[in-house]
């Protein structure tokens, strides 16, 4: 059997209110084990899960990379990484010793068939020693160029199927393709080796609590859904702003740009969750069916329309949070005449009964004044003036803002009378995760790794979803490529994007939210 989703175990001791299911013992094989993602996110997440008793005994990790390490050296590297990056620091020595017994290093290059043959033997040996039952998760944390080779080699060595009734799954990091054609090609290659239900395309935004809470907020409360449509909503703004520049990812970023790096995945996910219809059930296929419907209902922006419906920007030298920042073209790995966008704003229309005529403005950029992600629903203004001293256009519309980071929470803005005066002033009603629940939200990677081990793909991207999103964005890339070169840089590091972005939304009689 390749996957156990269809037959979850019925453990009678799990009955009751408080006991969460733990995954079956398994081996997580990380390709790209010497990389940044492994040290910063993956292994700290796994350690935290073990520390919080969410992983079973026997759980094991195998790091696959070219560097000349052995098990002991790899464990030491990971110990330092967890000490530097875990939310539970410092590492407890006794706990680490027990966790590290299950960490192994496998030295091989991604294109060496003998390395995979030895990997198969190694995994079988770990199964025998640690009772992991043939259950495996392969995690592709490598540069995307290596994905097809690794997938093909796994298939060639029979590692796409588990021995002895276990399951095998594969997690693929973003970017999943760089346009529609390459995404389709990658899907074809992956699905030639694995079944779709074995494939977990990860977008860590979906692991964030507030993103998951979006569905709870919409579908577990009776008061919002009736107004969640074109009759009451004027428009929506989805913002993912980063205050950092490209840091040491210049080489990668210059080939990608903000549309591929952020809009195609994170912002599209936020858009679909905001706009989707209620799914028939909270399960992987029902939720993803509805998300795909949203993507299919979005009117594509044709190459000829890109100048009207999108804005691009690239940051020049400036300063962010009081620190000087060099311009994008001065970053390492970036071409001095680069035409890559570090800022995108665009406008989508979803042509269905719920949203026809309601614009969804998406914006994302680097080197912006602060790091903030939010979804804001701006409601229509009141229809007429009732209070003599306040003109109707001065009464601010109601806004429901869902903050994803930092400081996760939900804010509702409404108008209120100033005590003792005849003035009306906007006030906000605030819900903050940190203060209402008082517990630290788990890291997105913890949630997603655990979901994958449990066989729940609800928070991962399905094949048709990833292709539908590329189908929307590829014409924009083509339109940009066909147009004249941009006069980059066009915004200073530390500003809220180019002036053209303000003019873009102002043309519709609206303005970006001040964040």
């Amino acid at each position: 059997m390749s996957d156990s989703v269809a037959t979850p175990l019925e453990n009678p001791l799990r009955a009751g209110l408080r006991l969460w299911r733990t995954p079956e013992p398994c081996i997580v094989v990380i390709f790209g084990a010497s990389g940044d993602l492994t040290s910063r996110k993956l292994v700290p997440a796994l350690y935290n899960l073990a520390r919080e008793r969410r992983l079973p005994g026997g759980f094991s990790v195998v790091g696959f990379a070219r560097r000349e390490w052995d098990d002991a050296a790899f464990r030491q590297v990971l110990l330092e990484a967890v000490n530097a990056n875990s939310r539970a620091r410092p590492v407890e020595a006794a706990l680490w010793a027990s966790f590290a017994e299950g960490i192994f290093y496998h030295r091989a290059s991604f294109d060496d068939p003998a390395g995979y043959a030895r990997l198969a033997e190694r995994l079988a040996a770990i199964d025998a020693a640690r009772d992991t039952g043939g259950n495996r998760v392969f995690y592709l944390a490598t540069p995307p160029e290596a994905y097809p080779e690794i997938v093909a080699q796994l298939g060639a060595h029979g590692l796409n199927r588990s021995p002895g009734g276990g399951w095998t799954r594969i997690i693929i990091e973003k970017p999943f393709g760089r346009d529609l054609e390459s995404a389709r090609d990658l899907n074809r290659r992956v699905l030639a080796v694995f079944d779709e239900r074995q494939v977990y395309r990860i977008d860590h935004y979906l692991g964030k609590e507030t993103v998951q809470n979006l569905l709870v907020f919409r579908f577990a409360n009776g008061i919002f859904e009736p107004i969640w449509n074109r009759r009451y909503v004027d428009h929506a703004q989805i913002t993912v702003a980063e205050s950092l520049g490209v840091e040491d990812r210049g080489g990668y970023y210059d080939r990608a740009g903000a549309l591929r790096d952020m809009i195609q995945n994170h912002l599209t996910q936020l858009l679909t969750l905001t706009a989707m219809e209620p799914p028939v059930a909270y399960d992987a296929d029902a939720v993803r069916d509805e998300k795909v419907k949203v993507l299919r209902a979005i009117r594509p922006i044709a190459p000829a329309e890109v100048e009207r419906l999108t804005v691009r920007g690239q940051y020049g030298p400036g300063s962010v949070s009081g620190r000087p920042m060099r311009g994008y073209r001065d970053e390492r790995g970036v071409a001095p005449d680069s035409q890559t966008e570090t800022y995108v704003a665009l406008k989508f229309f979803i042509e269905n009964w719920r949203w026809a005529g309601v614009p969804f403005y998406l914006r994302s950029g680097k080197a912006l004044p602060r790091r903030v992600s939010e979804i804001a629903i701006l409601f229509r203004r009141v229809p007429t003036l009732l209070f003599a001293d306040t003109p109707v256009n001065e009464i601010e519309p109601n806004v429901l803002a869902i903050r994803i980071q930092p400081d996760e929470g939900i804010t509702l803005k409404f108008s209120s009378k100033v005590p003792g005066q005849a003035q009306i002033r906007p006030v906000t009603m605030d819900f903050r995760y940190g203060t209402s629940f008082g517990v630290a939200s788990p890291e997105a990677y913890e949630r997603l790794l655990l979901d994958c081990m449990l066989g729940d793909s609800t928070l991962f991207t399905r094949r048709d979803e990833v292709e539908a999103s590329w189908a929307l964005l590829t014409p924009i890339l083509e339109g940009w490529a066909a147009g004249p070169p941009q006069d980059f840089p066009n915004y200073e590091a530390g500003a809220w994007g180019p002036a053209a972005a303000d003019a873009f939304i102002a043309r519709d009689g609206r303005a970006w939210r001040r964040l």
Binding site: R18, R53, A94, A129, T435, S436
Partner: protein, 387 residues
């Protein structure tokens, strides 16, 4: 007749209002103070030391459940008879730039016979339209005079079975309350019972359940013959309560039923005799299961409570699942040794949660904990054999 300093609910409400006004005015740095209430927590103390402990928990609870705490200090034996009340805001230390979140606390100190009036004062001071939780710490919650007076308004009663004076008798009273909390007839509400002693067992139940999330090991759960439960006594006091609750839990989950002579006692060791459905030998066949609950010797300063839980199948293919304290620094060792499988051991973390953390976990529950009810009813049946 002495004239008593009279405290009424309107005076207290007025004081609360003044408190919030002052708090808003004195807020520093331009940061707003947010008053947040998610429930009414009525807590009863019998002396000032207990009141202090409850106050500390109430302040810590603001992080997860900002609430109106009504702290009733009932001291009927003390003189002179009087009722005093005071109010305070319980605030979180906040980070710069983040509004401060505060709950509120009303403390009522009643000495002498007037402490009988305290329930009426509490009823008038409940924040409307919020759940009402009554917390009765101490050895005799079911004899507390507040309970019958507040029964009609509370949604949840919280006690701690680890503190109960008479484990055997009290277990039966707990079970009786859980079956019939005496809510007025026709009421839609049914009082949920929470036991902080049961809540403290959650990590043990979790680690035990984890063994059987593994497909090849799951069948052994139906083959268990013997369960050994070790606990660290509370000083000189033997309190097998956690062991009885764990035994009740296993019996409820695995469909084990007590034999007629279900309990035997040898010194401090309890033996529970049950039968379980037999596996693979016809529908009517049964097998016996023995649960042994015994105190264990522990290092000086070891926290009382569960120390070891071992589940074994001895007949046929041997299987041995063991969860035990590894040290007193909050580490637990789990091991599974099953014939035909490699032994799997690992160390995990299980720091004893603070009282406030256990309370917070209980307050997160919205409904009755059906598994607790089932475990409690069976534990009470075992306890009946002890008397």
């Amino acid at each position: 007749m002495n004239t008593l300093p009279f405290v009424d609910s309107a005076t207290i409400e007025g004081e609360l209002q003044r408190l919030w006004q002052e708090t808003a005015e004195t807020a520093t740095g331009g940061e707003a103070v947010t008053r947040a209430l998610t429930l009414n927590l009525i807590a009863r103390a019998t002396d000032l030391a207990m009141a202090e402990r409850i106050g500390a928990v109430a302040r810590e609870l603001v992080t997860s459940h900002p609430n109106r705490t009504l702290l009733a200090i009932c001291r009927p034996e003390e003189t002179p008879p009087r009722i005093e009340a005071w109010v305070q805001a319980n605030c979180l230390l906040s980070a710069p730039g983040v509004p401060q979140v505060c709950g509120e606390q009303i403390s009522i100190d009643a000495r002498g016979p007037v402490s009988a009036q305290i329930a009426s004062l509490i009823l008038a001071l409940l924040a409307p339209d919020l759940p009402v939780v009554l917390w009765l710490p101490g050895p005799a919650p079911f004899d507390d005079p507040l309970l019958p007076r507040l029964r009609g308004v509370i949604d949840r009663l919280i006690i701690d079975s680890r503190d109960l004076a008479e484990p055997a008798g009290d277990l039966r009273r707990m079970a009786a309350f859980d079956r019939d909390p005496g809510t007025p007839p026709g009421g839609a509400r049914r009082i949920a019972l929470s036991d902080l002693g049961w809540a403290a067992l959650t990590p043990w139940r979790e680690l035990t359940a984890q063994f059987f999330d593994t497909r090849p090991l799951l069948p052994h759960l139906r083959r268990l013959d013997q369960v050994d439960i070790g606990y660290v006594p509370d000083g000189e006091r033997l309190n097998p309560m956690p062991g009885l609750l764990i035994a009740g839990w296993l019996a409820a989950c695995l469909d084990w039923t007590p034999l007629e002579e279900a309990v035997s006692v040898e010194g401090a060791t309890l033996r529970l005799h049950l039968r379980r459905p037999a596996v693979g030998v016809g529908p009517r066949a049964i097998r016996l299961v023995t649960i042994i609950i015994a105190p264990v010797s522990a290092a000086a300063g070891a926290a009382p409570g569960l120390a070891s839980l071992r589940l074994r199948a001895l007949d046929g293919v041997s299987a041995d699942f063991h969860v035990q304290r590894a040290d007193e620094q909050g580490h637990i060792l789990t091991s599974a040794e099953v014939a035909g499988h490699p032994p799997v051991r690992r160390l995990t973390r299980c720091v004893t949660p603070s009282l406030a953390e256990v309370m917070a976990a209980e307050l997160r529950l919205l409904s009755r904990d059906a598994m607790f009810s089932a475990a409690l009813q069976r534990a009470a049946r075992f306890a009946a054999g002890l008397t």
